[in-house]
Subunit: 131 residues, 2 copies
C-alpha cells in the first residue's frame, strides 16, 4: 500500500499546480520552513505563502511539481521523506535545477495528522551552497 505521506505530498503538488495556496498552507506546521532557494528561507505560513506566490510568478504560472522515487523513514511522530522531485514549467530557462533529490520532514499531530515542518527541495545540495 502506498505510504500515506506519498498521498499527502501528491495533494501538496496538486495545490501548488492549482495555485491554491490557502489549501497548501494547511499542510504546513505554524513554524514550518521552506527553502525557497539556496540562501533564502521562508518561515511561517505568511512567508511561505508569499514565497509560493513569487515562485508561481517566476515560473509564469505554469509550474507542475511531481515526485519520482520516494523513500519514507518514519520514527514515531517524525518522518523524513527523500524524493526525486521533478518540476516542469512553460518557462524555457531557469536558474534552478528542475530535477532534485528533495528532503522533506513531517510531524504527526496528536490527532494523527501529518504536517510538513521542513520543505527543502534542494536536499543535501545545499551543503555546497552558502545558505
Amino acid at each position: 500500500m502506498e505510504h500515506v505521506l506519498k498521498q499527502f505530498i501528491n495533494k501538496c503538488d496538486s495545490a501548488i499546480q492549482q495555485e491554491d495556496f490557502d489549501t497548501l498552507l494547511n499542510y504546513y506546521t505554524d513554524d514550518a520552513i521552506l527553502v525557497v532557494k539556496p540562501g533564502m528561507i521562508a518561515q511561517g505560513k505568511e512567508e511561505i505563502k508569499k514565497a509560493f506566490i513569487a515562485i508561481a510568478k517566476y515560473f509564469t504560472n505554469s509550474l507542475v511539481p511531481a515526485q519520482g522515487e520516494m523513500i519514507v523513514l518514519e520514527a514515531g511522530d517524525t518522518a523524513l521523506v527523500m524524493s526525486e522531485t521533478l518540476l516542469t514549467a512553460d518557462k524555457q530557462e531557469t536558474q534552478f535545477p528542475m530535477a532534485r533529490k528533495a528532503t522533506y520532514v513531517f510531524k504527526k499531530t496528536p490527532q494523527g495528522e501529518w504536517l510538513c515542518a521542513i520543505d527543502n527541495s534542494y536536499g543535501t545540495d545545499l551543503i555546497s551552497s552558502s545558505l
Copy 2:
C-alpha cells in the same frame, strides 16, 4: 556562535569513536531510526546499539566519524541537519562510502533537549538504492 546541534553531533561522534554506546543511546529518541546501510534499518535503542556494535566491529574498532560543512534547518521543535560526514578507519577497503552527505532529523523534548530521531548518513543517495 556554533549551533547547539553541531556540538550535539560532535558529542555523538566522540561516543562512537570511544565505543561508548550507552552514552550514545541517550542521544536518540526511543523510536529513533538508524539507516545501517542501504536496505537495512535499525529502530529503537536496542536495535541501534546492536547495529553500532556491529559497525564498530566491521571497522575493526577504529572508526572515527567527523563532520565537515553542516547546515541546520530549525523549525520549532524539529530540525533537519545536512552534513558532510567523513569516516576514517584503519580498515583498508570497505564496501561503503567514507565521505557522505548525511541527513539527520532531531526533535526537541518539552525540556528543551535535542534528541536524534532519524540518523541517515547516506542522505538522498538512498533514493537510487532499494531500501
